[in-house]
């Protein structure tokens, strides 16, 4: 049984559960861009992002009957797409728990930082840093949520984010200075 506050989403979910093709397309249309962008940002290339999107949405429609509505539908779909993307990325990632240095948390982001520069810098990060930075800073997940999703400890998530930011600043400095 699905409990959703949004009546439109509830109708959409119920129609999808009846294998209504139009409702399934409508649900896909509603979330496709955000999920594709997320998958691209995590995976770093469009082909893999497309695959993750397909796998994610197939999984969404197959397990829609298990959706209990404890979170929003968008958050639930996003989690599935992240897991689909992480499944592809997993062979390339080896998370290591690194101790944080004393001055952790102090970053300096330039006033002239543009989105394009940041995007390029994110794509230049290693897969592990890119994944955690995207999930925490871009998608707004908390460290314990990321830890649960990726099967790591919250400490590892924090350290990965710290080094990801450090690496980003180095990348941005390199991009801006020359």
């Amino acid at each position: 049984m699905v409990y959703l506050n949004n009546p439109d989403e509830l109708l959409l979910v119920e129609a999808c559960l009846r294998s209504d093709r139009k409702a399934q397309k409508a649900l896909y249309e509603k979330y496709k861009d955000a999920m594709y962008t997320l998958a691209y940002r995590v995976l770093g290339n469009f082909d893999d992002a497309c695959d993750a999107l397909q796998e994610g949405f197939i999984q969404v429609f197959r397990s829609l009957e298990n959706f209990e509505g404890r979170s929003s539908l968008g958050a639930w779909i996003r989690t599935i797409v992240v897991r689909a993307a992480y499944k592809k990325l997993k062979p390339e990632i080896a998370f290591e728990e690194i101790e944080l240095s004393e001055n952790s948390g102090l970053y300096c982001w330039d006033d002239n930082l543009t989105s394009e520069e940041l995007e390029r810098a994110i794509l230049n990060l290693s897969p592990g840093y890119r994944l955690v930075f995207t999930l925490v800073e871009v998608e707004g997940y908390k460290h314990n949520e990321v830890a649960e999703m990726l099967g790591i400890s919250p400490g590892t998530s924090k350290s990965q984010l710290f080094y990801a930011k450090k690496k980003l600043q180095e990348e941005l400095a390199y991009m801006i200075e020359p």
Binding site: D33, F46, C50, Y107, W109, L113, L118
Partner: protein, 261 residues
């Protein structure tokens, strides 16, 4: 010990208190502001990150996969419906078959068994206590007229019975029919020869081709269902005035046989 403690507390109170310089707070505040601004810059940059549109083929692949599922669901529903219809058709078929079987058994029940009374009835025999020779000629004439009417009515009845028997014979397998026909032919020839020899004076109005076949539906045994076919051959029906001799002779069938199938 107590004196020492009191002295220390007195000394503590006498220690000078220093006022923190304003510059410290300024630097901390500056640091916070810098950090906030930096985070703001990052958030602003993140908010402006581009959104990408997936290609159309992504939905096609998803739809194809979902179609397979839909197809499977549809096939499952179709199979269930076909099975339900088949079961229903079978049930109706069994019901119809039982009904036909009941009707057949009812028809067979209508066909009377060749009892003594029936045989007399068939051969239009007068009651056994009536003295044939003592009847008056006029009365006999009236009786003959009424008898003729009765005979014609009973002929019709017999024809109907024969028709029913023929219907029943159709259901018997071809092998059994062939066997029955062989018996029939054999007995007919023997009978006709015997009759010609034994009673040349009797006027024969009917042919000697009447084979009465009666199918008995015996109650089925507990394990094996057997059907027994009994058939009997009677003397030809003569509508002339019967004599005592013919009366005695015609009450018994010339030939009777039964086959267990």
């Amino acid at each position: 010990m107590e004196n020492e403690k009191n002295n220390i507390s007195k000394l503590k109170n006498r220690l000078p208190q220093h006022i923190a310089p304003e510059s410290v707070w300024e630097s901390v505040e500056e640091q916070f502001q810098l950090e906030e601004q930096s985070t703001g810059n990052l958030k602003q940059a993140i908010a402006g990150l581009p959104v990408y549109l997936p290609p159309e083929k992504a939905w096609e692949a998803i739809d194809l996969s979902l179609n397979k599922k839909r197809g499977l669901v549809f096939s499952a529903h179709l199979i269930i419906r076909i099975a339900a219809v088949l079961i229903l058709a079978l049930a109706i078929g069994f019901l119809i078959r039982d009904k036909i079987a009941d009707e057949k058994s009812n028809k067979l029940a209508l066909v009377e068994k060749p009892t003594q009374f029936n045989l007399n009835d068939r051969l239009e025999m007068p009651p056994s206590n009536v003295d044939i020779k003592s009847e008056k000629p006029e009365a006999s004439k009236n009786q003959a007229v009424t008898k003729n009417k009765q005979i014609s009515q009973k002929k019709e009845m017999l024809n109907e019975r024969d028709a029913i028997e023929k219907i029943e014979l159709v259901t018997i397998s071809s092998i059994n029919i062939n066997k029955l026909e062989d018996y029939k032919k054999k007995d007919q020839t023997q009978l006709s020869e015997n009759l010609l020899k034994s009673e040349p004076k009797v006027e024969r109005k009917t042919k000697i081709n009447r084979v009465k076949l009666i199918v008995h539906n015996d109650p089925p045994p507990p394990v094996v269902d057997k059907r027994r076919f009994t058939f009997a051959l009677f003397r030809p029906v003569s509508y002339s005035q019967p004599t005592k001799d013919t009366l005695n002779r015609n009450t018994k069938p010339l030939f009777a046989a039964s086959i267990n199938l």
